[in-house]
């Protein structure tokens, strides 16, 4: 019985991230539009877009290979699995031991690896530029992320995300310099990884500076739907990750809780997503996009902050 309940919770988590992801994207767009004094589309618009794309025929280049057709499904699946392993409203997920935080990062890296290859498959110039920029950004964002993981793991004594969330929710951790550095670095990495302003602009298809959109420019129809859904899930994943680690309030612990605790946890999660989405929109509207060759400076700073956090913990476990 307990087993079935745990499976249900895990299944609910998987369904939740899948269903909420377009909503978060729509919410961010709506807030951005309001901040620009526009009415903006409904926050349900991403669902309609996905449904529309799924109904359309897919247009493929003549020379597109099997890799090009398989990649959208692989990217979607890897991102979805990674998101399902991040605690959203409960920490004691039955499959949380399948992959620790390093493995979750690596799963996202797998998704990006295939997406970058797909961008090069057809051989048009935009795809190549997009892939080249994407791996350039990733080659700095990933080590920064690993350094953040090191910082968290040294504080919590574990790379297991549920354990990290539980420990950081506890009273004994408190405010720490290293955690502050890690939070700043994590936000910078999250912005870069999701292709948000100032690294990349998710709302453009016609700029020579675009990264992610250039890479997926050849996709259409159901393939594009998979990729857009994966991008939405990835945004949700990073917001959930920051929330689970740095704002672990209200999460149902592994020992479980009553029905009230579950409801409170779900409400708290929704509130965290809303706050995260609002802050992201606020940040994006108040800053200009960077030139591409400035991106390494930005991510280098994130890497150094992460390394500094780790070094501080090597100097003293209480910092």
């Amino acid at each position: 019985m307990a087993m079935i309940l745990e499976l249900l919770v895990q299944g609910a988590q998987m369904a939740l991230v899948l269903l909420l992801a377009p909503l978060l994207t729509g919410f961010v767009r709506q807030v951005k539009a309001r901040l620009l004094r526009r009415r903006g589309p409904s926050i349900l618009q991403p669902y309609r877009d996905l449904a529309r794309l799924l109904r359309k025929e897919a247009v493929l280049a003549e020379n597109a290979s099997w890799l090009f057709r398989a990649t959208p499904y692989l990217v979607f699946a890897a991102t979805w699995v990674a998101a399902a392993l991040v605690p959203t409203f409960a920490t004691g997920l039955i499959f949380s031991w399948t992959a620790d935080l390093i493995a979750i990062i690596a799963l996202l890296a797998s998704a990006r690896f295939f997406l970058a290859l797909a961008g090069m498959d057809v051989g048009t110039s935009f795809g190549g530029i997009g892939s080249s920029r994407e791996v350039m950004i990733a080659s700095l964002a990933e080590p920064a992320m690993i350094m953040i993981v090191f910082t968290l793991a040294l504080v919590a004594g574990s790379t297991q995300l549920s354990t990290v969330a539980t420990v950081l929710a506890g009273p004994e951790v408190g405010l720490r310099v290293s955690l502050g550095l890690a939070l700043v670095a994590l936000v910078m990495v999250a912005i870069a990884e999701n292709g948000r302003i100032p690294i990349d602009n998710p709302a453009t298809h016609l700029e020579l500076t675009m990264v992610h959109e250039a890479m997926v420019l050849e996709y259409s129809g159901r393939h594009l739907a998979m990729i857009e859904l994966a991008a939405a899930i990835k945004l949700l994943l990073y917001v959930s990750l920051i929330a689970a680690v740095f704002a672990p309030w209200g999460i149902v612990p592994a020992s479980g809780g009553g029905a009230g605790a579950w409801v409170a946890a779900l409400l708290a999660y929704a509130a965290k997503l809303a706050v995260g989405g609002f802050l992201l929109a606020l940040f994006e509207t108040s800053i200009a996009k960077m030139r591409v060759f400035r991106v390494p400076d930005f991510l280098g700073a994130a890497l150094m902050l992460g390394l500094l956090g780790t070094l501080l913990l090597f100097v003293s476990r209480s910092l």
Binding site: R38, P41, R48, L54, E57, A58, V59, L60, A61, E62, N63, S65, L67, L74, F76, A77, V81, A84, T98, A99, D100, I102, A103, A106, L107, S110, F113, L117, M120, D121, V122, G123, T124, S125, G128, S131, S132, R133, V135, M136, S139, E142, P143, I146, M147, L154, G157, Q160, H205, L206, L217, E218, S220, G221, R222, M226, L307, T310, F314, V315
Partner: protein
């Protein structure tokens, strides 16, 4: 007895080498030589595996009345030697199988066939040697045989220089090892490894030996800054020999380092770990940075070998640091991570070199700028090469990720180290390791993307044809093992336990007992990873998505010119709500999206097709 089996295999290989001088030009020479090499490697590897998994009667020792008259030839098969025998013979068997098909294109087979089995015999002898004389003699024999193979195409531009640099560096390395063995033997002159192991060594001797071994074995393994010969020599040889040199011979060098520093020297002072860690970290990052700049596919792979050897040495350095501070389980974790990476790298680097050989056969080109579009002409080779690329980029669920993940877990054990030097250096090396892993992914996106994807950039690439089935079978075996170890890493880790126990005196917890074959390095609350479940979840989710789309979405597909999807009104001005998009099927009415003009805008920039 496994050791006698291995010795008979060596004898068979040496006899084949001699016979190949006579039959090298005969049409039956090639399949015969490679066939015997394949059989001998497979048998020796299987014998070593049996000894590793189920050791009957402890370590096996044989003393042959050869070599120095007062010493004899000491040969010994223990867990460490057995593990490296498995690695070497696995790579050797795959290269031999590949050679049966690939050797057909060899212009001068008599320059390759005699030295190939001799090279295999030399590597196996190094692993079995249990006295300094036999060890150094086999080491030099291995170097010279591989030098002869590098010089097989000595008339090609640059190969003569590659061979010369290799010869100088190999001699230098052997000299350093010779001095190290002399110091270990001491004034008494006990040249058998058993005598060296017993004798206590003072700090000065231990330091000198460590530095000399790092120079000797490190130059063979390709540690920066002793790597200069490696990117010249490895690509110069025929591709299946390149696979052996990069995938396997560097591992023999790692074996030499482990044998002397961990086994013969006994305990090392803590700061010796700092030297090893610094060399490892520098090699990992510089190797992959050099690899990113290459346009020659085989040279790119050779530089990436330097990176992976660096990762192995980071693991070994961590093991030394933990061992010096009597942290047994952490030392076992770091050492197991290093050994697992040895095995993994042997598998995927051999696979990638064999794939590069297939590309070379099909197109005659090693310059990736002149390839492209091969995924359509060589579907099986490209799929197998892709497996190798994913594995070497340390991406789950393949094997490369597991060993790097274990190395990261070992780094996370190090705040408990008491020495300040190590506590500052280890996180920095951890950052270098993370950087190397991320850059490796960028490097192999480029290697695969430019070679196999896009449009063909030369007539040769346009007319390439898939290689023969035997070569494909050799690559498929290696790719299969990469996937298998990635999915079931616990089995490999358990098989490595006796080696770790023999060398660092501790082992990782048994993985076979944990639920669903999860890898648990220390405790489940600290970290765990399950490749099998990750793979199942990803495959399941992808299947669900594909089925759902088949059921509820559109299945229609249309083919068109490249760029057609991009030009079809995807573009909209910034800040336009998606609702304002024109419907895709119904023409391009809005002004910002006037079909043909848009196509031309999409084609504007010059095409730098590779990730920089």
């Amino acid at each position: 007895m496994p050791i006698l089996v291995a010795l008979w295999c060596i004898a068979a290989l040496l006899a084949t080498a001699v016979a190949a001088v006579a039959i090298g030009r005969h049409p039956w020479g090639r399949p015969l030589v490679y066939g015997v090499s394949l059989t001998a490697s497979a048998v020796a590897g299987a014998a070593a595996l049996v000894h590793l998994v189920a050791p009957a009667g402890g370590d096996l020792t044989v003393i042959l009345p050869l070599g120095l008259p007062w010493l004899g030839m000491h040969l010994r098969l223990d867990a460490l030697a057995a593990f490296f025998l498995v690695v070497v013979n696995l790579g050797a068997a795959a290269a031999s199988l590949y050679g049966i098909g690939y050797g057909r294109h060899e212009s001068a087979p008599q320059r390759v066939l005699p030295f190939f089995p001799a090279f295999l015999a030399g590597m196996t002898m190094v692993l079995l040697a249990a006295d300094a004389f036999t060890f150094l003699l086999s080491w030099e024999f291995m170097s010279l045989a591989s030098w002869a193979l590098v010089m097989a195409h000595h008339r090609d531009a640059g190969n003569a220089r590659a061979g010369y640099v290799y010869l100088v560096m190999a001699s230098f390395g052997t000299l350093a090892l010779l001095l190290a063995c002399g110091l270990l033997a001491g004034p008494v002159g006990g040249y058998a490894f058993a005598d060296m192991r017993g004798g206590g060594h003072d700090a000065t001797t231990a330091t000198l030996v460590l530095v000399l071994v790092l120079l000797g074995a490190g130059s063979k393994a390709g540690l920066v800054p002793l790597h200069v010969w490696l990117p010249l020599a490895h690509p110069a040889a025929p591709s299946h020999v390149s696979a052996l040199m990069s995938g396997v011979m560097t591992k023999v060098a790692v074996y030499g380092f482990v044998r002397i520093v961990f086994d013969l020297l006994g305990g090392s002072p803590w700061w010796s770990a700092m030297i090893v860690l610094a060399f490892g970290g520098a090699s990992a990052v510089l190797g992959v940075l050099y690899a990113l700049m290459q346009t020659d596919l085989k040279r790119l792979l050779a530089y990436s070998t330097i990176e992976n050897v660096g990762i192995v040495f980071i693991g070994l350095g961590l093991a030394l640091a933990f061992q010096a501070n009597a942290m047994g389980s952490a030392a076992a974790l770091a050492f197991t991570a290093a050994l697992l990476h040895v095995l993994n790298h042997a598998l995927f680097k051999s696979l990638l070199f064999l794939g590069a050989g297939a590309v070379l056969t099909a197109t005659g080109a090693r310059d990736i700028e002149r390839l492209g579009g091969l995924i359509r002409r060589m579907p099986i080779t490209s799929a197998l090469f892709l497996v190798g690329c994913v594995a070497i980029s340390a991406l789950p669920p393949l094997n490369g990720f597991v060993s790097e993940w274990l190395t990261f877990q070992a780094v996370l054990q190090s705040p408990d180290l008491p020495q300040w030097g190590l506590r500052i250096l280890v996180p920095a090396v951890g950052a270098l390791l993370a950087l190397a892993a991320a850059l490796a992914a960028a490097c192999f996106v480029r290697a695969f993307g430019v070679t196999f994807l896009g449009r063909p950039r030369s007539a040769a690439a346009e007319t390439a044809r898939e290689v023969d089935r035997v070569s494909l079978a050799a690559m498929a075996v290696l790719a299969g093992l990469c996937v298998l170890i990635g999915l079931l890493p616990g089995v490999a880790i358990d098989a490595l336990a006796p080696v770790a126990e023999a060398v660092v005196g501790a082992r990782m917890p048994a993985q076979g007992a944990s639920a669903w074959l999860t890898v648990v390095p220390i405790a489940e609350s600290r970290s765990s990873y399950n490749g099998l479940l990750v793979m199942l979840f990803v495959a399941g989710s992808a299947a669900v998505a594909a089925l759902a789309i088949r059921r509820f979405g559109s299945r229609a597909t249309r083919r068109g010119r490249p760029g057609i999807a991009a030009s079809r009104c995807r573009a909209r001005p910034p800040n336009t709500p998606p609702a304002a998009l024109p419907s895709r099927s119904g023409g391009c009415s809005p002004p910002w999206c006037s079909g043909p003009a848009n196509v031309s805008r999409c084609r504007r920039p010059a095409p730098p097709r590779r990730p920089a």
